[in-house]
Subunit: 241 residues, 2 copies
Protein backbone atom coordinates (compact mmCIF):
# COMPACT_ATOMS: atom_id res chain seq x y z
CA UNK A 1 0.00 0.00 0.00
CA UNK A 2 2.92 2.32 0.47
CA UNK A 3 3.22 2.83 -3.25
CA UNK A 4 3.97 6.52 -3.32
CA UNK A 5 7.01 7.11 -5.53
CA UNK A 6 8.27 9.90 -3.27
CA UNK A 7 8.33 7.64 -0.28
CA UNK A 8 10.63 5.21 -2.06
CA UNK A 9 13.31 7.87 -2.38
CA UNK A 10 13.55 8.46 1.35
CA UNK A 11 15.87 6.21 3.28
CA UNK A 12 13.80 4.28 5.78
CA UNK A 13 14.84 4.25 9.37
CA UNK A 14 15.66 0.83 10.80
CA UNK A 15 12.58 0.92 12.96
CA UNK A 16 10.34 1.62 9.97
CA UNK A 17 12.03 -1.11 7.96
CA UNK A 18 11.68 -3.64 10.75
CA UNK A 19 8.09 -2.56 11.38
CA UNK A 20 7.18 -3.36 7.79
CA UNK A 21 9.04 -6.66 7.83
CA UNK A 22 7.43 -7.78 11.07
CA UNK A 23 4.02 -6.70 9.83
CA UNK A 24 4.46 -8.81 6.73
CA UNK A 25 5.80 -11.77 8.71
CA UNK A 26 2.76 -11.62 10.97
CA UNK A 27 0.30 -11.32 8.10
CA UNK A 28 1.65 -14.27 6.12
CA UNK A 29 1.81 -16.36 9.28
CA UNK A 30 5.58 -16.67 9.41
CA UNK A 31 5.15 -15.48 12.99
CA UNK A 32 2.01 -17.32 14.01
CA UNK A 33 -0.97 -15.73 15.66
CA UNK A 34 -0.76 -15.95 19.43
CA UNK A 35 2.97 -16.52 19.52
CA UNK A 36 5.30 -14.73 21.92
CA UNK A 37 7.77 -12.25 20.44
CA UNK A 38 11.26 -12.32 21.89
CA UNK A 39 13.13 -9.05 21.52
CA UNK A 40 16.61 -10.57 21.72
CA UNK A 41 15.70 -13.24 19.17
CA UNK A 42 14.16 -10.73 16.76
CA UNK A 43 17.05 -8.32 17.19
CA UNK A 44 19.45 -11.12 16.36
CA UNK A 45 17.38 -12.29 13.44
CA UNK A 46 17.26 -8.86 11.82
CA UNK A 47 20.74 -7.85 12.90
CA UNK A 48 19.78 -4.71 14.81
CA UNK A 49 19.76 -3.49 18.37
CA UNK A 50 16.66 -3.64 20.54
CA UNK A 51 16.04 0.12 20.47
CA UNK A 52 14.56 0.46 16.99
CA UNK A 53 13.00 -2.97 17.38
CA UNK A 54 11.02 -1.74 20.36
CA UNK A 55 9.89 1.27 18.38
CA UNK A 56 8.63 -1.07 15.67
CA UNK A 57 6.82 -3.16 18.27
CA UNK A 58 5.21 0.01 19.59
CA UNK A 59 3.85 0.73 16.16
CA UNK A 60 2.65 -2.83 15.62
CA UNK A 61 0.74 -2.53 18.88
CA UNK A 62 -0.90 0.65 17.65
CA UNK A 63 -2.00 -1.27 14.54
CA UNK A 64 -3.67 -3.94 16.71
CA UNK A 65 -1.42 -6.61 15.20
CA UNK A 66 0.31 -7.39 18.48
CA UNK A 67 -0.42 -6.99 22.15
CA UNK A 68 2.16 -5.82 24.66
CA UNK A 69 2.09 -6.11 28.42
CA UNK A 70 4.55 -4.24 30.66
CA UNK A 71 7.42 -6.43 31.88
CA UNK A 72 5.93 -9.45 30.17
CA UNK A 73 6.50 -8.78 26.53
CA UNK A 74 4.67 -8.83 23.22
CA UNK A 75 2.68 -11.45 21.39
CA UNK A 76 0.85 -11.59 18.07
CA UNK A 77 -2.89 -11.13 18.50
CA UNK A 78 -5.15 -14.13 18.61
CA UNK A 79 -7.50 -14.28 15.67
CA UNK A 80 -11.17 -14.80 16.27
CA UNK A 81 -14.29 -14.97 14.19
CA UNK A 82 -15.82 -12.31 16.36
CA UNK A 83 -13.04 -9.86 15.64
CA UNK A 84 -13.23 -10.71 11.94
CA UNK A 85 -16.93 -9.89 11.88
CA UNK A 86 -16.35 -6.70 13.85
CA UNK A 87 -13.79 -5.58 11.33
CA UNK A 88 -16.18 -6.36 8.46
CA UNK A 89 -18.87 -4.19 10.03
CA UNK A 90 -16.41 -1.32 10.41
CA UNK A 91 -15.16 -1.69 6.89
CA UNK A 92 -18.71 -1.70 5.64
CA UNK A 93 -19.53 1.72 7.01
CA UNK A 94 -16.13 3.23 6.26
CA UNK A 95 -16.04 1.98 2.67
CA UNK A 96 -19.63 3.10 2.31
CA UNK A 97 -18.47 6.55 3.33
CA UNK A 98 -15.56 6.32 0.89
CA UNK A 99 -17.93 5.51 -1.96
CA UNK A 100 -20.22 8.37 -0.96
CA UNK A 101 -17.37 10.84 -0.90
CA UNK A 102 -15.87 9.45 -4.09
CA UNK A 103 -19.20 10.05 -5.82
CA UNK A 104 -18.79 13.67 -4.75
CA UNK A 105 -15.09 14.19 -5.37
CA UNK A 106 -13.95 11.83 -8.11
CA UNK A 107 -12.29 13.28 -11.22
CA UNK A 108 -12.95 12.22 -14.78
CA UNK A 109 -9.47 10.66 -15.20
CA UNK A 110 -10.09 8.63 -12.06
CA UNK A 111 -13.40 7.37 -13.44
CA UNK A 112 -11.69 6.46 -16.69
CA UNK A 113 -9.07 4.58 -14.73
CA UNK A 114 -11.76 2.75 -12.77
CA UNK A 115 -13.49 1.68 -15.93
CA UNK A 116 -10.21 0.43 -17.33
CA UNK A 117 -9.59 -1.49 -14.15
CA UNK A 118 -12.99 -3.15 -14.38
CA UNK A 119 -12.32 -4.14 -17.98
CA UNK A 120 -9.07 -5.71 -16.92
CA UNK A 121 -10.79 -7.51 -14.08
CA UNK A 122 -13.38 -8.86 -16.48
CA UNK A 123 -10.57 -10.37 -18.54
CA UNK A 124 -8.94 -11.77 -15.43
CA UNK A 125 -12.15 -13.43 -14.34
CA UNK A 126 -12.59 -15.10 -17.71
CA UNK A 127 -9.02 -16.37 -17.82
CA UNK A 128 -8.71 -17.58 -14.26
CA UNK A 129 -12.28 -18.50 -13.61
CA UNK A 130 -12.47 -15.91 -10.88
CA UNK A 131 -9.44 -17.05 -9.00
CA UNK A 132 -7.43 -13.88 -9.50
CA UNK A 133 -10.16 -11.48 -8.58
CA UNK A 134 -9.30 -11.01 -4.95
CA UNK A 135 -5.55 -11.30 -5.36
CA UNK A 136 -4.70 -7.82 -6.59
CA UNK A 137 -3.35 -5.30 -4.14
CA UNK A 138 -2.47 -1.63 -4.15
CA UNK A 139 -3.20 0.32 -7.30
CA UNK A 140 -4.80 -2.67 -8.97
CA UNK A 141 -7.37 -3.05 -6.24
CA UNK A 142 -10.85 -1.73 -6.89
CA UNK A 143 -11.48 -0.74 -3.30
CA UNK A 144 -8.16 1.07 -3.07
CA UNK A 145 -9.13 3.23 -6.03
CA UNK A 146 -12.49 4.17 -4.54
CA UNK A 147 -10.95 5.03 -1.21
CA UNK A 148 -8.34 7.27 -2.85
CA UNK A 149 -11.08 8.99 -4.84
CA UNK A 150 -12.85 9.95 -1.63
CA UNK A 151 -10.18 12.62 -1.05
CA UNK A 152 -10.71 12.16 2.69
CA UNK A 153 -7.11 11.84 3.89
CA UNK A 154 -7.98 10.54 7.31
CA UNK A 155 -10.30 7.95 5.88
CA UNK A 156 -7.65 6.92 3.38
CA UNK A 157 -5.20 6.52 6.24
CA UNK A 158 -7.67 4.45 8.25
CA UNK A 159 -8.69 2.15 5.44
CA UNK A 160 -5.40 1.84 3.58
CA UNK A 161 -3.19 1.35 6.57
CA UNK A 162 -4.47 -0.13 9.78
CA UNK A 163 -7.65 -1.81 8.59
CA UNK A 164 -6.06 -2.92 5.33
CA UNK A 165 -3.38 -4.91 7.11
CA UNK A 166 -5.77 -6.34 9.66
CA UNK A 167 -7.98 -7.49 6.83
CA UNK A 168 -5.01 -8.99 5.02
CA UNK A 169 -4.06 -10.82 8.19
CA UNK A 170 -7.48 -12.44 8.42
CA UNK A 171 -7.62 -13.12 4.72
CA UNK A 172 -4.27 -14.77 4.78
CA UNK A 173 -4.84 -16.82 7.90
CA UNK A 174 -8.43 -17.76 7.29
CA UNK A 175 -7.95 -18.46 3.60
CA UNK A 176 -10.91 -16.34 2.67
CA UNK A 177 -13.11 -17.57 -0.16
CA UNK A 178 -11.84 -16.10 -3.37
CA UNK A 179 -13.79 -17.64 -6.20
CA UNK A 180 -17.30 -18.26 -4.98
CA UNK A 181 -18.53 -14.71 -5.46
CA UNK A 182 -16.42 -13.43 -8.36
CA UNK A 183 -19.17 -12.84 -10.86
CA UNK A 184 -21.54 -11.34 -8.32
CA UNK A 185 -18.79 -9.20 -6.83
CA UNK A 186 -17.76 -7.97 -10.25
CA UNK A 187 -21.33 -7.00 -11.04
CA UNK A 188 -21.55 -5.15 -7.74
CA UNK A 189 -18.35 -3.28 -8.57
CA UNK A 190 -19.83 -2.19 -11.87
CA UNK A 191 -22.97 -0.93 -10.17
CA UNK A 192 -20.93 0.99 -7.64
CA UNK A 193 -18.91 2.68 -10.39
CA UNK A 194 -22.12 3.55 -12.21
CA UNK A 195 -23.48 5.26 -9.10
CA UNK A 196 -20.20 7.08 -8.50
CA UNK A 197 -19.95 8.24 -12.08
CA UNK A 198 -23.54 9.52 -11.84
CA UNK A 199 -22.60 11.45 -8.65
CA UNK A 200 -25.36 9.59 -6.84
CA UNK A 201 -23.83 9.76 -3.34
CA UNK A 202 -26.63 7.93 -1.54
CA UNK A 203 -26.75 5.05 -3.98
CA UNK A 204 -22.97 4.71 -4.08
CA UNK A 205 -22.89 4.34 -0.30
CA UNK A 206 -25.77 1.87 -0.20
CA UNK A 207 -24.28 -0.28 -2.95
CA UNK A 208 -20.83 -0.35 -1.39
CA UNK A 209 -22.26 -1.23 2.01
CA UNK A 210 -24.29 -4.03 0.44
CA UNK A 211 -21.21 -5.27 -1.37
CA UNK A 212 -19.15 -5.49 1.83
CA UNK A 213 -22.11 -6.94 3.70
CA UNK A 214 -22.48 -9.65 1.07
CA UNK A 215 -18.83 -10.54 1.51
CA UNK A 216 -19.33 -10.69 5.26
CA UNK A 217 -22.37 -12.92 4.97
CA UNK A 218 -20.48 -15.13 2.57
CA UNK A 219 -17.69 -15.49 5.10
CA UNK A 220 -20.15 -16.19 7.90
CA UNK A 221 -21.82 -18.83 5.78
CA UNK A 222 -18.56 -20.62 5.24
CA UNK A 223 -17.58 -20.27 8.88
CA UNK A 224 -20.83 -21.90 9.89
CA UNK A 225 -20.72 -24.66 7.31
CA UNK A 226 -17.14 -25.64 8.02
CA UNK A 227 -16.27 -25.99 4.35
CA UNK A 228 -12.92 -24.39 4.75
CA UNK A 229 -10.41 -26.52 6.63
CA UNK A 230 -8.48 -23.56 7.92
CA UNK A 231 -11.62 -22.00 9.27
CA UNK A 232 -12.48 -25.21 11.08
CA UNK A 233 -9.27 -25.11 13.03
CA UNK A 234 -9.95 -21.61 14.21
CA UNK A 235 -13.53 -22.43 14.98
CA UNK A 236 -12.35 -25.19 17.26
CA UNK A 237 -9.97 -22.86 19.04
CA UNK A 238 -12.64 -20.29 19.65
CA UNK A 239 -14.87 -22.96 21.16
CA UNK A 240 -12.20 -24.12 23.55
CA UNK A 241 -11.89 -20.68 25.13
Amino acid sequence: MEKSPEKNLVQLSLSEEIFQKLREAIIVGEIPSGSKLSEPALAKRYGISRGPLREALSRLEACSLIERHPNIGASVVELSQQRLIEIYHIREVLEGLAARQAAYSITQPEITGLRGLLEQHKVDIRQDNGHAYFQKEGDFDFHFRIIQASKNDHLISLLCNDLYYLHRLYRYQFGMPSSSRSNAAFKEHENIVDAIENRDVELAEILMRRHIKASRLNVVKQLNSGINDKIISYTKKATDK
Copy 2:
Protein backbone atom coordinates in the same frame (compact mmCIF):
# COMPACT_ATOMS: atom_id res chain seq x y z
CA MET B 1 -11.05 7.24 28.60
CA GLU B 2 -8.76 4.70 30.16
CA LYS B 3 -11.09 4.23 33.07
CA SER B 4 -10.77 0.50 33.55
CA PRO B 5 -10.10 -0.19 37.22
CA GLU B 6 -7.79 -3.10 36.38
CA LYS B 7 -5.58 -0.90 34.31
CA ASN B 8 -4.96 1.42 37.23
CA LEU B 9 -3.40 -1.39 39.22
CA VAL B 10 -0.69 -2.06 36.67
CA GLN B 11 2.45 0.00 36.90
CA LEU B 12 2.78 1.98 33.70
CA SER B 13 5.98 1.83 31.77
CA LEU B 14 7.77 5.13 31.33
CA SER B 15 6.97 5.18 27.65
CA GLU B 16 3.26 4.71 28.33
CA GLU B 17 3.30 7.37 31.00
CA ILE B 18 5.10 9.85 28.77
CA PHE B 19 2.84 8.97 25.86
CA GLN B 20 -0.21 9.94 27.89
CA LYS B 21 1.39 13.11 29.20
CA LEU B 22 2.48 14.23 25.76
CA ARG B 23 -0.92 13.41 24.34
CA GLU B 24 -2.58 15.57 26.97
CA ALA B 25 -0.06 18.38 26.49
CA ILE B 26 -0.75 18.37 22.75
CA ILE B 27 -4.52 18.30 23.19
CA VAL B 28 -4.70 21.21 25.63
CA GLY B 29 -2.28 23.22 23.49
CA GLU B 30 0.58 23.27 25.94
CA ILE B 31 2.63 22.00 23.02
CA PRO B 32 1.15 24.02 20.18
CA SER B 33 -0.01 22.59 16.90
CA GLY B 34 2.71 22.70 14.28
CA SER B 35 5.55 23.03 16.76
CA LYS B 36 8.77 21.02 16.57
CA LEU B 37 9.40 18.42 19.24
CA SER B 38 12.95 18.24 20.56
CA GLU B 39 13.87 14.87 21.99
CA PRO B 40 16.66 16.16 24.24
CA ALA B 41 14.42 18.94 25.59
CA LEU B 42 11.50 16.61 26.25
CA ALA B 43 13.74 13.98 27.82
CA LYS B 44 15.13 16.65 30.13
CA ARG B 45 11.70 18.03 30.91
CA TYR B 46 10.27 14.66 31.92
CA GLY B 47 13.51 13.42 33.46
CA ILE B 48 13.89 10.28 31.33
CA SER B 49 16.21 8.98 28.66
CA ARG B 50 15.42 9.28 24.97
CA GLY B 51 14.68 5.56 24.50
CA PRO B 52 11.20 5.40 26.04
CA LEU B 53 10.54 8.91 24.79
CA ARG B 54 11.06 7.74 21.22
CA GLU B 55 8.66 4.87 21.83
CA ALA B 56 6.06 7.35 23.03
CA LEU B 57 6.65 9.48 19.95
CA SER B 58 6.16 6.39 17.81
CA ARG B 59 2.78 5.85 19.38
CA LEU B 60 1.77 9.49 19.05
CA GLU B 61 2.57 9.23 15.37
CA ALA B 62 0.34 6.20 15.06
CA CYS B 63 -2.46 8.26 16.66
CA SER B 64 -2.05 10.99 14.02
CA LEU B 65 -1.25 13.54 16.71
CA ILE B 66 2.31 14.11 15.50
CA GLU B 67 4.24 13.67 12.30
CA ARG B 68 7.75 12.29 12.16
CA HIS B 69 10.28 12.50 9.36
CA PRO B 70 13.49 10.41 9.35
CA ASN B 71 16.55 12.37 10.48
CA ILE B 72 14.51 15.55 10.80
CA GLY B 73 12.39 14.91 13.84
CA ALA B 74 8.81 15.15 15.03
CA SER B 75 6.27 17.94 15.08
CA VAL B 76 2.69 18.28 16.27
CA VAL B 77 0.23 18.05 13.40
CA GLU B 78 -1.15 21.19 11.86
CA LEU B 79 -4.87 21.56 12.43
CA SER B 80 -7.09 22.30 9.50
CA GLN B 81 -10.77 22.72 8.88
CA GLN B 82 -10.58 20.10 6.20
CA ARG B 83 -9.21 17.51 8.58
CA LEU B 84 -11.81 18.45 11.16
CA ILE B 85 -14.60 17.88 8.66
CA GLU B 86 -13.03 14.62 7.53
CA ILE B 87 -12.98 13.40 11.09
CA TYR B 88 -16.61 14.41 11.57
CA HIS B 89 -17.65 12.36 8.55
CA ILE B 90 -15.80 9.35 9.86
CA ARG B 91 -17.29 9.72 13.31
CA GLU B 92 -20.71 10.00 11.77
CA VAL B 93 -20.60 6.60 10.13
CA LEU B 94 -18.75 4.89 12.97
CA GLU B 95 -21.05 6.23 15.67
CA GLY B 96 -23.99 5.35 13.45
CA LEU B 97 -22.66 1.81 13.41
CA ALA B 98 -22.21 1.91 17.18
CA ALA B 99 -25.83 2.96 17.64
CA ARG B 100 -26.99 0.22 15.28
CA GLN B 101 -25.03 -2.43 17.11
CA ALA B 102 -26.05 -1.06 20.49
CA ALA B 103 -29.70 -1.40 19.46
CA TYR B 104 -28.92 -5.06 18.86
CA SER B 105 -26.68 -5.81 21.83
CA ILE B 106 -27.59 -3.48 24.67
CA THR B 107 -28.61 -4.94 28.03
CA GLN B 108 -31.46 -3.76 30.21
CA PRO B 109 -29.13 -2.41 32.93
CA GLU B 110 -27.28 -0.44 30.28
CA ILE B 111 -30.55 1.06 29.08
CA THR B 112 -31.49 1.93 32.62
CA GLY B 113 -28.12 3.60 33.04
CA LEU B 114 -28.61 5.55 29.82
CA ARG B 115 -31.98 6.83 30.96
CA GLY B 116 -30.45 7.88 34.27
CA LEU B 117 -27.70 9.67 32.41
CA LEU B 118 -30.22 11.57 30.31
CA GLU B 119 -32.15 12.60 33.42
CA GLN B 120 -28.94 13.90 34.91
CA HIS B 121 -28.13 15.75 31.72
CA LYS B 122 -31.57 17.35 31.73
CA VAL B 123 -30.84 18.69 35.19
CA ASP B 124 -27.42 19.89 34.07
CA ILE B 125 -28.91 21.75 31.13
CA ARG B 126 -31.42 23.54 33.33
CA GLN B 127 -28.80 24.54 35.87
CA ASP B 128 -26.04 25.63 33.53
CA ASN B 129 -28.13 26.78 30.63
CA GLY B 130 -26.55 24.13 28.46
CA HIS B 131 -23.01 25.01 29.18
CA ALA B 132 -22.11 21.72 30.84
CA TYR B 133 -23.63 19.50 28.20
CA PHE B 134 -20.53 18.93 26.14
CA GLN B 135 -18.10 18.96 29.01
CA LYS B 136 -18.54 15.48 30.40
CA GLU B 137 -16.06 12.84 29.46
CA GLY B 138 -15.66 9.13 29.96
CA ASP B 139 -18.48 7.28 31.73
CA PHE B 140 -20.59 10.41 31.93
CA ASP B 141 -20.58 10.90 28.22
CA PHE B 142 -23.62 9.84 26.27
CA HIS B 143 -21.66 8.80 23.21
CA PHE B 144 -19.23 6.76 25.27
CA ARG B 145 -22.09 4.74 26.69
CA ILE B 146 -23.56 3.98 23.28
CA ILE B 147 -20.22 2.95 21.89
CA GLN B 148 -19.59 0.58 24.82
CA ALA B 149 -23.05 -0.90 24.36
CA SER B 150 -22.20 -1.83 20.77
CA LYS B 151 -20.03 -4.67 22.12
CA ASN B 152 -17.81 -4.28 19.07
CA ASP B 153 -14.36 -4.21 20.64
CA HIS B 154 -12.57 -2.95 17.60
CA LEU B 155 -15.08 -0.17 17.12
CA ILE B 156 -14.78 0.75 20.78
CA SER B 157 -11.02 0.91 20.38
CA LEU B 158 -11.30 3.09 17.29
CA LEU B 159 -13.83 5.52 18.70
CA CYS B 160 -12.66 5.65 22.31
CA ASN B 161 -8.99 5.93 21.64
CA ASP B 162 -7.61 7.39 18.45
CA LEU B 163 -10.64 9.31 17.22
CA TYR B 164 -11.62 10.39 20.69
CA TYR B 165 -8.31 12.17 21.28
CA LEU B 166 -8.25 13.69 17.82
CA HIS B 167 -11.70 15.05 18.40
CA ARG B 168 -10.66 16.40 21.78
CA LEU B 169 -7.69 18.09 20.16
CA TYR B 170 -9.92 19.90 17.71
CA ARG B 171 -12.51 20.71 20.31
CA TYR B 172 -9.92 22.14 22.62
CA GLN B 173 -8.06 24.12 19.99
CA PHE B 174 -11.03 25.30 18.01
CA GLY B 175 -13.17 26.08 21.03
CA MET B 176 -16.12 24.18 19.64
CA PRO B 177 -19.54 25.61 20.21
CA SER B 178 -20.96 24.17 23.37
CA SER B 179 -24.22 25.88 24.14
CA SER B 180 -25.91 26.69 20.87
CA ARG B 181 -27.37 23.24 20.30
CA SER B 182 -27.90 21.88 23.81
CA ASN B 183 -31.64 21.55 23.76
CA ALA B 184 -31.73 20.16 20.26
CA ALA B 185 -28.85 17.78 20.99
CA PHE B 186 -30.52 16.58 24.14
CA LYS B 187 -33.72 15.87 22.24
CA GLU B 188 -31.74 13.96 19.64
CA HIS B 189 -30.11 11.91 22.39
CA GLU B 190 -33.52 11.02 23.76
CA ASN B 191 -34.72 9.90 20.34
CA ILE B 192 -31.63 7.79 19.85
CA VAL B 193 -32.15 6.04 23.18
CA ASP B 194 -35.78 5.43 22.28
CA ALA B 195 -34.73 3.74 19.05
CA ILE B 196 -32.08 1.69 20.81
CA GLU B 197 -34.44 0.60 23.55
CA ASN B 198 -36.93 -0.46 20.89
CA ARG B 199 -34.19 -2.50 19.17
CA ASP B 200 -34.81 -0.51 15.99
CA VAL B 201 -31.32 -0.87 14.50
CA GLU B 202 -32.00 1.10 11.32
CA LEU B 203 -33.59 4.04 13.09
CA ALA B 204 -30.88 4.12 15.75
CA GLU B 205 -28.23 4.39 13.08
CA ILE B 206 -30.07 7.04 11.10
CA LEU B 207 -30.76 9.17 14.17
CA MET B 208 -27.18 8.97 15.41
CA ARG B 209 -25.83 9.86 11.98
CA ARG B 210 -28.18 12.83 11.80
CA HIS B 211 -27.11 13.89 15.27
CA ILE B 212 -23.42 13.91 14.35
CA LYS B 213 -24.15 15.48 11.00
CA ALA B 214 -26.06 18.28 12.73
CA SER B 215 -23.04 18.92 14.93
CA ARG B 216 -20.83 18.99 11.87
CA LEU B 217 -23.09 21.42 10.05
CA ASN B 218 -23.21 23.58 13.14
CA VAL B 219 -19.43 23.69 13.22
CA VAL B 220 -19.25 24.45 9.51
CA LYS B 221 -21.75 27.28 9.97
CA GLN B 222 -19.63 28.86 12.65
CA LEU B 223 -16.45 28.33 10.66
CA ASN B 224 -18.01 30.16 7.76
CA SER B 225 -19.51 32.97 9.78
CA GLY B 226 -16.34 33.68 11.71
CA ILE B 227 -18.18 34.08 15.01
CA ASN B 228 -15.56 32.25 16.97
CA ASP B 229 -12.29 34.14 17.35
CA LYS B 230 -10.22 30.99 17.63
CA ILE B 231 -11.73 29.65 14.49
CA ILE B 232 -10.94 32.85 12.66
CA SER B 233 -7.28 32.52 13.43
CA TYR B 234 -7.20 29.04 12.00
CA THR B 235 -9.22 30.09 9.01
CA LYS B 236 -6.63 32.70 8.26
CA LYS B 237 -3.83 30.17 8.51
CA ALA B 238 -5.53 27.78 6.15
CA THR B 239 -5.95 30.58 3.64
CA ASP B 240 -2.32 31.56 3.79
CA LYS B 241 -1.15 28.12 2.73
